[in-house]
């Protein structure tokens, strides 16, 4: 399978481990898809409050990118972060509980849809201010090098974030200091309702890398193996001291900006949506695995069914979990002298 010649021996040859890894990637893509689909129902029924930003359509980006990271590598996510969390190994029970505002959630219900974090999986932060988390990844990369560790940091962000000052400052600083960070732009063509062509002076966001003297790559964000291959090279380069890279993944969110977004047809046509849905990253990956005769259909269906069960279990877990105690609302503002929140 050509796309798996990743150049860093991460997968090695096509052996059992490779197959496990491939299956794990498919499993995570399904996990994201079903997590988001079921989450939508919970949002509509009022069990999930606030906003609900689905990652559906972009699964190949998070899963492809995280597939080449080590467990102790860092990622920083965005307002559309469920996919990143799952791809980095997040526990969907804790995620679902967090979205339902429960005590058993990743952050005890204090973080919610846009702010989930877990040091256990190296998810340093999910940041709701667009572009706001990119420099956090730069800091983690700085820290990694400062401590003499080989950890790499990866920042996910959307096309909209590349118009913020924080993006430009971060890429420049990471370049000047040659930090082990990979900037992964999920270009889903819209910042809420505004088309990239109306918000950016360049056609390809990857071109912006030139300004900072770092490599800028464009990759098909609907092809998990393509993402995986490109990110693998950037990660290896970063880990070996070669500095940062910018990778632009051309992708698409199948749903609205957030579940409450009443009518995406105001800014994009049904034909366009349909065209992208034909490139559904899960179907593309599945077909590839079948065509290359790596797995039989039965095996892939089993993966899918198992994930469906997992999601149901996660929902049950979340629903049956207690809410946090309102008496604790002032706790955790500070680490030292915890009583001083007044």
């Amino acid at each position: 399978m050509e796309s798996l010649r990743l150049g860093n021996n991460y997968f090695g040859k096509r052996n059992e481990l490779d197959k496990d890894k491939l299956l794990e990637m498919l499993r995570k893509m399904y996990r994201i898809r079903f997590f988001e689909e079921k989450g939508e129902n919970l949002y509509k029924s009022g069990l999930i409050t606030g906003d609900f930003h689905q990652y559906i359509g972009e699964e190949a980006v998070a899963v492809g990118a995280c597939a080449v990271l080590r467990d102790d590598d860092y990622i920083v996510s965005t307002h559309r972060g469920h996919g990143h969390c799952i791809a980095k190994g997040g526990d969907i029970k804790k995620m679902m509980a967090e979205l339902l505002g429960r005590k058993t959630g990743y952050c005890g219900g204090r973080a919610g849809d846009m702010h989930m974090l877990s040091m256990d999986i190296g998810l340093l932060a999910s940041v709701g201010t667009v572009g706001g988390g990119i420099s956090t990844a730069v800091g983690a990369a700085f820290s990694s090098r400062y401590r003499g560790s080989e950890q790499v940091a990866l920042a996910f962000f959307g096309d909209g974030a590349t118009n913020t000052g924080a993006f430009h400052e971060s890429l420049n600083l990471a370049s000047v200091w040659k930090l082990p960070v990979v900037f992964v732009c999920e270009n889903n063509l819209y910042g809420v309702s505004l088309r990239v062509s109306e918000s950016s002076g360049v056609e390809d966001i990857a071109d912006r890398a030139t300004s900072y003297g770092i490599p800028g790559e464009i990759v098909d964000g609907m092809d998990v193996l393509a993402v995986c291959g490109t990110v693998a090279e950037a990660v290896s380069k970063a880990r070996e001291g070669g500095g940062p890279s910018l990778i632009e993944c051309k992708t698409y969110r199948f749903g609205p900006h957030w579940v409450g977004d009443p009518d995406p047809s105001i800014y994009r046509s049904d034909e366009e949506v349909q065209k992208w849905k034909e490139k559904d990253p899960i179907l593309v990956f599945r077909s590839k695995l079948l065509e290359d005769r790596i797995f039989k259909e039965r095996k892939l269906d089993a993966v899918k069914e198992l994930v469906e069960e997992e999601i149901e279990e996660a929902i049950e877990f979340a629903k049956n979990s207690p809410f946090p105690d309102p008496d604790t609302v002032e706790n955790y503002v500070y680490h030292s002298e915890r009583e001083i929140s007044r």
Binding site: G132, G133, I134, S135, T136, A140, S143, E169, V333, S336
Partner: protein, 322 residues
């Protein structure tokens, strides 16, 4: 006891903590070769090297963000932002990340980040002279320190660096070269402990940063006229040692709060609120806040002086309230 400048005291704090803990590093514009705008980091590059004392491009937002990421992953960053006015370009990572992550993670992560800034009007005009501490007092999750003496500057900075919470450490341009007693031996000052800079029993004057000096000048003058004022420096605004202030007010029955920041919506109003809450019965007269005029700070010296409070304003107000 030996006397050193506020600037030297800060440098000693940095040097001591950097010697002790490899995870402490400082980044900022011109903190390396140049030694910092006010010479606070002079000599530190030579001692600690370029990996720990790092000059940054002019990218305040990325600098703070980098501090947050480094703090989350086990380091103790100090980010030097020349002037407090410049935080206006990097509030997002301060307010939405540094201040919040500990809380929203139920304490699962910590952000031991020290942001050093300098405030105060020195004839540089409106974007290099403001006093913006109230912004941070109003942002839950940050600690705010504002030392007025070399002794306090050193002891508080050491506490800021070794603590586990994000701290906005506000220095004052006109204090950097003022001398004061600082012991040779190591010490720290805990946050949330006000210092009674002068005892008195007829009036409580709470003052911050440079205004502590003005309050002491005023108290000295008032003493000559037979009015005994107590001067209290809270030293940290978050946490605020309201107890020491309340105890003083119970003794004196009169309160003035003086700060260089605009009077409106400032820490003075907050201190008055808390005192009224706890010791309303002890007050003989309505407490007063003396702050700067509610204007963007002007350049011309007579205008700037008219905007910022001084000992004279304090004396006049005290006499009005006696």
């Amino acid at each position: 006891m030996r006397e050193i400048t506020y600037c030297e005291a800060l440098r000693e704090a940095l040097r001591e903590e950097m010697r002790k803990d490899q995870s402490v590093f400082m980044i900022g514009e011109d903190v390396g070769r140049f030694g910092g705008w006010f010479t606070v980091s002079k000599g530190l590059l030579a001692e600690f090297g370029g990996a720990r004392i790092k000059d940054t491009p002019i990218s305040e937002s990325a600098m703070i963000g980098l501090g947050v990421g480094a703090a989350l992953t086990g380091l103790r960053p100090i980010v030097d932002i020349y002037f407090i006015d410049l935080v206006a370009v990097c509030m997002d990572p301060i307010v939405n990340l540094a201040a919040a992550l500990g809380y929203v993670s139920e304490g699962r992560v910590k952000v031991p980040l020290v942001i050093r800034v300098t405030g105060g009007g020195t004839g540089q005009g409106h974007d290099h002279g403001k006093s913006l501490e109230a912004w941070f007092v109003h942002t839950a999750g940050l600690k705010v320190a504002m030392p007025s003496t070399p002794y306090d500057a050193k002891g508080l900075l050491k506490t800021a660096i070794t603590g586990d919470d994000p701290v906005i450490f506000i220095e004052h341009k006109l204090l950097y070269f003022k001398k004061g007693p600082v012991p040779e031996e190591e010490y720290t000052i805990p946050f949330g402990e006000a210092d009674i800079k002068k005892e008195g029993n007829q009036f409580t004057i709470v003052a911050t940063s440079l205004m502590v000096r003005e309050a002491l000048k005023a108290a000295e003058e008032l003493e000559k006229e037979g009015i005994s004022a107590e001067v209290i420096d809270p030293r940290t605004l978050i946490p605020l040692d309201i107890q020491t202030i309340v105890s003083s007010v119970r003794k004196t029955s009169r309160l003035i709060v003086v700060h260089e920041a605009c009077e409106r919506g400032g820490i003075g109003a907050e201190i008055v609120r808390q005192v009224v809450d706890r010791a309303f019965d002890s007050l003989d007269v309505a407490p007063k806040v003396i702050g700067a005029k509610n204007i963007p700070l002007p350049y011309s010296k007579p205008l700037e002086s008219a905007a910022i409070p001084s000992a004279k304003d304090i004396i006049r107000t005290v006499k009005e309230l006696m």
